[in-house]
């Protein structure tokens, strides 16, 4: 085992372990905080894989934005802060069986398929400069389409979550009250 493999294995154990805590803990807020740890360990894994710009984007968007959004959702649905016993559904054992089968199949396929493959890691392969040049030269059209999709989804989220739009009101009368 090389040093990279040892570091990546440790980060992977942290990521998978905190992922298991996310899906098994009895406290909603703790699940969100374990999710932060899992995403942070994955960002470290991206750094080991020399994808440093992806790692920073992971930290900024996932740890910074998505988890905060999920915490807002937990607060706004007035979830209990302490232990709640009914977070797991009754088909937990069927779900565990399906997950174990998925893990067995995927791990077997991955190990059998890539047993002898090694990947060349060279520094600078995922720097902001290279990725920026790649995004704005080759992938600029998907980038622009994605910006339109983000705008549409955020407008949709605003329309879904604002009150005062009802069938009883005429068109244009609900613009002042947000």
């Amino acid at each position: 085992m090389s040093g990279q493999e040892i570091v990546f294995t440790l980060l992977g154990v942290v990521a998978v372990g905190s992922g298991i805590m996310v899906v098994t803990t009895r406290r909603l807020v703790h699940a969100a905080l374990w999710l932060v740890l899992s995403f942070g360990a994955l960002a470290g894994g991206y750094v080991v894989l020399t994808a440093e710009f992806v790692a920073w984007v992971q930290v900024l968007i996932y740890v910074g934005a998505v988890v905060v959004l999920l915490l807002f959702g937990i607060m706004l649905t007035r979830a209990p802060i302490g232990d709640s016993a009914d977070l797991d559904s009754g088909n937990r054992w069927a779900a565990a069986a399906v997950a174990a089968a998925t893990a067995a199949v995927l791990v077997t396929v991955m190990v059998m398929g890539f047993r002898d493959e090694r990947m060349p890691l060279r520094a600078g392969g995922g720097s902001a400069g290279e990725l920026g040049a790649s995004v704005f030269r080759t992938w600029v059209l998907p980038f622009e389409v994605l910006s339109v999709l983000l705008l549409a989804s955020l407008v949709g989220a605003i329309v879904l979550s604002r009150t005062g739009i009802g069938p009883g009101r005429g068109p244009g009368s609900g613009e002042g009250d947000g």
Binding site: F8, G12, S38, L42, A51, L76, E117, R118, L149
Partner: protein, 122 residues
């Protein structure tokens, strides 16, 4: 670096996400598990980008796109969850059975109750 390490981590993370989606009852926890599965896919994309030494960096750019789509998805998903909470005072996916196909008495009772709540809401 051996290719098996990141792919096995990604496979295990994906399975954890599958378990969370199937076993959790709170809709926000289901959204968290979906995020775990998306992260597993991102790890695979970065790994294979590094393995192929892609000159265009297709895997990493697609990872960035997936992160943006995940952010849009969680925003829209939370808006829907908040709307469900506003109408029904709970986000338990096991009890949200208005779209289920069975039409026995319990379901009819729940549908009537839900209509009542929706009428009372505005």
């Amino acid at each position: 670096m051996h290719l098996a390490y990141p792919t096995v981590v990604a496979a295990l993370l994906f399975s954890v996400g599958v378990y969370g989606v199937l076993a959790r009852r709170n809709a926000i926890l289901v959204l968290m598990s979906v995020e775990l599965m998306l992260n597993a896919v991102n790890l695979n994309l970065v790994t294979f980008d590094m393995w192929f030494r892609d000159r265009l960096h297709g895997g990493q750019v697609l990872t960035l796109f997936t992160i943006v789509i995940a952010a849009a998805e969680v925003g829209l998903g939370l808006a829907i969850v908040l709307l469900v909470y506003r109408n029904r005072e709970m986000v338990d996916v096991d009890r949200l059975r208005s779209l289920a196909e069975s039409d026995d008495a319990a379901e009819a009772g729940e549908v009537g109750e839900v209509g009542e709540v929706e009428e009372a809401a505005p």
